[in-house]
Symmetry: C2
Subunit: 419 residues, 2 copies
């Protein structure tokens, strides 16, 4: 099997909202608790992104500029993990879609380019954002660098300390970045005073980025996960994977991705769920960290996406906006909430969720590394762990399942995970 399958990048994103077999609860205004209007959301986001948030068309055209930029590294490889199959003596087939060949080493660039593009079109002067482990921050910084838009990043403090190279990378792309909670916002200062040793969280970092956005000056906000339009931009992953598997005359029995806010999970799984809605049999599994188990231990209710309560209320599985996840290497999975679409899919029984301890993720990543050579990102390691569980279960049942998982990024900038 060649390293690359498929030679074309999708010309559209798949919008799962067109096919959902249930009604999504709308986002609510945090004060009035009435459904937020597009106008209200446009205070934070570029109009086209707000329109996509509510759009019900099945296919949304990818702008030509974004298509051209995708060509810088897409299509990403879909590979069969033959050496892993051999090592495990597995009679089925294991495939992984590898998003680590992007210039920043993760899938995050798929939506970063789209968001920056629409903001440039709308005349935005600057984008503010949060980042956990730094994958999103570096992706948005690169997108801004490529398209000429200044970027300001609030990076969760513990990740900024664990992963100084990510800070360097964000700065190499000319973006401004600081550890969160920072001293440069009122909310950041408030947290620092109340809790000087606070390791930070995505919820806090989002609040800081939103505070900067609300101050105006042509600043808009960009979110790296959770929202409908973000997950939709990521569907290039699943569309490519589905086509590449179809070229091999395959359809997976199981599709697995790690879950923090939901972006790589939605990206790879939604195009396969489209078939499941039409009756095709496929299991879809979200792998989340045991120490931040929003899908498996959270409550399905309205909560804000950030800690300060600036965002609309989203109906989602949440551990509570004040939840500060314990420090873990998979910084991209340290989020109290979850994507509303992914939450609703789980609530309605279309997908499953499993928790993975960090040690299990690390052992799974080492096994993968020793057979496939790639150093997985700590986040992706959780998906590998779930894939291994599926393989063992299939073996015990004497089944030869075709398993697909998303390797959302490499871990070359997260090597402390392997110390």
């Amino acid at each position: 099997m060649p390293q690359c399958n498929g030679t074309t990048v999708p010309k559209y994103w798949y919008n799962i909202q067109a096919d959902l077999p249930f009604t999504l609860d709308p986002p609510l205004h945090p004060v009035t608790r009435q459904p937020v209007t597009a106008e209200e959301m446009e205070a934070l986001f570029a109009p086209e992104l707000v329109a996509q948030e509510f759009n019900r068309d099945r296919e949304i055209d990818i702008p030509e500029v974004v298509q051209d930029l995708y060509q810088l590294w897409r299509p990403t490889p879909l590979r069969r993990a033959k050496r892993l199959e051999q090592k495990l003596d597995y009679g089925g087939e294991i495939y992984y879609k590898y998003e680590g060949t992007s210039p920043v080493g993760s899938h995050k660039l798929n939506t970063a380019l789209a968001q920056v593009y629409y903001n440039v079109q709308a005349g935005t002067q600057r984008l503010a954002t949060e980042t956990g482990a730094g994958q999103w921050g570096s992706a948005l910084a690169l997108a801004g660098y490529l398209l000429g838009l200044p970027i300001e990043v609030f990076m969760v403090r513990v990740s900024a300390e664990q992963k100084p190279e990510r800070l360097r990378l964000i700065r190499a792309f000319g973006a401004k970045v600081q550890a969160s909670p920072s001293a440069s916002t009122a909310f950041g200062r408030q947290i620092r005073e109340a809790s000087p040793d606070c390791p930070g969280s995505l919820g806090i970092a989002i609040s800081e980025a939103l505070e900067v956005t609300r101050a105006g000056n042509g600043t808009k906000y960009a979110l790296g996960s959770v929202l409908n339009h973000v997950l939709m931009h990521q569907t290039v992953i699943g569309l490519e994977a589905k086509q590449a598997l179809a070229d091999l005359d395959r359809f997976p029995d199981v599709v697995i991705a790690c879950h923090g806010g939901g972006s790589n999970f939605g990206g790879i799984t939604f195009p396969f769920l489209a078939e499941k809605f039409r009756g095709q049999s496929v299991r879809v599994i979200a792998a989340e960290p045991a120490s931040c188990p929003s899908l498996t231990a959270g409550r399905y209710e309205y909560d804000t996406g950030d800690t300060a309560g600036f965002t609309p209320l989203l109906k989602m599985y949440t551990l509570g906006r004040d939840f500060i996840p314990p420090v873990l290497h998979a910084g991209g999975l340290r989020y109290h909430g979850a994507s509303p679409i992914v939450s609703a899919l789980l609530h309605h029984g279309w997908i499953e969720a499993q928790t993975v301890e960090e040690d299990e993720a690390r052992q799974a990543a080492r096994l993968f590394m020793a057979s496939e050579g790639i150093v997985p990102a700590p986040e992706s390691a959780h998906a590998i762990a779930c894939a291994l569980r599926e393989i063992y279960t299939a073996q015990l049942a004497g089944k030869q399942e075709t398993i697909l998982f998303c390797l959302s990024g490499h871990g070359l900038l997260d090597l402390s995970f392997y110390d």
Copy 2:
């Protein structure tokens, strides 16, 4: 143009020794100054690698195991730098072969897998090696990890200090690594006593690895560049690039690569030189750092490949085995000598060499990054700088040349270069 061109990995390496239009001066024994015999070299290297060092067949079959391992990431992308062409308003075409999609982020894995494979076949118990910036050390460590052979790495001290993440990566693959000059060899201790602040050099690190090898215990030595068989393993780069360009009905006017010991340079250029030997017009340019200019300022004479004088004498351009290059970020280019084949090609006028200041390399890399998104390795940045010179020259002359260069790796583990 799709991200990937070609769907097959070469089944053979191209052995330029079959076509050289001149006679290579043989390696000499460092004491007797007589041509070294295969038996003498087998004290250091696996027999098959020694045989390849002297082989004159044009095509050497790649073992199936190595072909399978190449499939983990090969073929690597050949991309047209369209955004760079637009930014420079260049009427010609710029292509780059990107080796940074390998699991360790550079081309070094191409020969690492071959060398480890042949050593495992020969019953070697352990491989010792040197590394500059760490690309070679991490590649050999990964190859050992994949094929089950213990690896011991001596890493040039200044690089080990500049790039701690490379040390981490080497250790993540289960290899032993220490900064060189180290306290664990007699030669290392001798250097440390004479010069406590010595930043190290590839020549010193090679001496340390050779001292460990000469102590026996089933240990052999692996070199990441310079030697004929190493460069030959790298010709998969040029073979793929030539095929991918042929598929587009193109042949380059100029081929450019950075030059330290010669491995990525030989890898991409030799298959094109094969055509030049047959009369095809193509310019071939080696880009070396101004602070370590072996090809442009060295003397063409017999010298040892290491500082202690353990290696055979090689006829090459050399700054002298005692030369300690100044500290620079492109640690992979800090070598006093050069590949004997590359040296002879330069001596006989088949190729050119240019020096590049680190600042020019950095500016070139930034321009490339802002158009193509990839963060180039500091070494590769020298090739980009030469490519830009060629573009400007062609523009001034009103020519529309097709330029190909090797982007030998990404710089995600060398970000201090961009601070």
